[in-house]
């Protein structure tokens, strides 16, 4: 067997889509799905530990303090974006959950060392445990580095804003945001000038329908693109110079992972804020 070249490592091709690992009764399990399940288990574990040592009185544990600090900070951010205590209280559970899920999925592969080297298929490396292999498919791929995942989350969040909007304004009030027949009627009753202006308003309402689709597209492509770019850059750097340079990129990856989760949270907050705003 030839020795491993420690200066230049070939991490294999970085593909746009996730690789299929196996099938369970017709459902394809990809390597990004396994990472998602693993991430969910990690979240469950942390929540379980947190819940076991939870104290509402007396001296709280260190873990509880850290999480309380994070939650208060995030709540403050949501409150400053929506500008209303009532809306912030209503949407905080949704956005907090999405934020934690995306942040954990972004960071998991970067934080746990060696996890990306666990492969299915391929050849074992001499001197390493037999789960680490070269070639074959990686068992875990960054969960958000899969377009179907990010698009799923983004579409779900945008649909959720519509549900909240219907709940607040009822179905006709909600449809009136896009098909502004009410404004058209009011405008033409005032005269021909305001009537023409109301036609423009009506067209703008129709344009908002397109922007609803653009919202979920731009949210999902932003998150996917950042994660994909990070992975691709680390593969490029590893194949060029594998000793020191990728370390910096991993720190960069931690940073962008948190920032992108934060951007996703902030944008969805503003979408919810628009949907729930008083007229």
């Amino acid at each position: 067997m030839e020795g491993i070249n420690i200066l230049q490592l070939n991490t294999g091709e970085t593909t746009i889509g996730a690789a299929e690992l196996f099938k369970i009764g017709g459902i394809t399990i990809t390597n990004s799905a396994t990472a998602g399940i693993f991430g969910t288990l990690v979240i469950f574990l942390v929540v379980y530990l947190l819940n076991r040592s939870y104290k509402s009185e007396g001296v709280p544990s260190k873990l509880q303090l850290v999480f309380e600090m994070m939650i208060t900070g995030f709540y403050g951010l949501i409150k400053s974006i929506t500008g209303s205590e009532k809306i912030a209280r209503k949407i905080f559970p949704v956005i907090g959950t999405v934020f934690i899920y995306i942040a954990v999925s972004n960071l998991l592969i970067n934080i746990i060392p060696g996890i990306a080297a666990i492969n299915i298929g391929g050849e074992t490396i001499e001197g390493l445990p037999s789960i680490f292999k070269t070639g074959g498919e990686s068992l875990f791929r960054t969960h958000t580095n899969d377009y179907s995942v990010t698009f799923g989350i983004a579409a779900a969040v945008v649909i959720w804003t519509h549900i909240y909007s219907i709940e607040k304004n009822n179905i006709f009030g909600h449809l009136n945001k896009y098909f502004r027949f009410g404004a058209l009627y009011k405008g033409f009753r005032q005269g021909i000038g305001p009537g023409m202006m109301s036609i423009i308003d009506f067209m703008l309402g129709l344009l908002d329908i397109i922007s609803e689709f653009a919202k979920s597209l731009s949210l999902s492509i932003r998150l996917f693109g950042n994660m994909f770019a990070g992975e691709l850059l680390s593969a490029l750097l590893l194949s060029a110079f594998a000793l020191v340079a990728p370390t910096l990129l991993i720190f960069m990856g931690l940073f962008t992972g948190v920032i992108q989760a934060l951007v996703f949270g902030a944008l969805t907050t503003s979408y919810f804020g628009i949907a729930l705003a008083d007229d």
Partner: protein
């Protein structure tokens, strides 16, 4: 022009999208520094907003990056 050459031209054009993004990011940051210079109290509240905005502006370059590699 054959298909391979057209692909190279397409990638070259896509990369152009990164140029205005750099300018825009610099613009955001310089505006933030100007605001802090005028009113130093703003520094704490501006920091997180500027980071989010820079990440938003960067999106265009990321789109170009993804398009660049999907064109191969």
């Amino acid at each position: 022009m054959d298909a391979e050459a057209a692909k190279f031209f397409a990638r070259a054009i896509v990369v152009l999208a990164m140029m205005p993004t750099a300018v825009a990011e610099a613009w955001v940051i310089s505006s933030a520094f100007k605001a802090i210079g005028r009113n130093p109290k703003l520094e704490d509240s501006l920091f997180s907003k500027v980071i989010i905005l820079v990440a938003l502006v960067e999106t265009t370059a990321i789109y170009a990056f993804v398009a660049f590699f999907t064109l191969s």
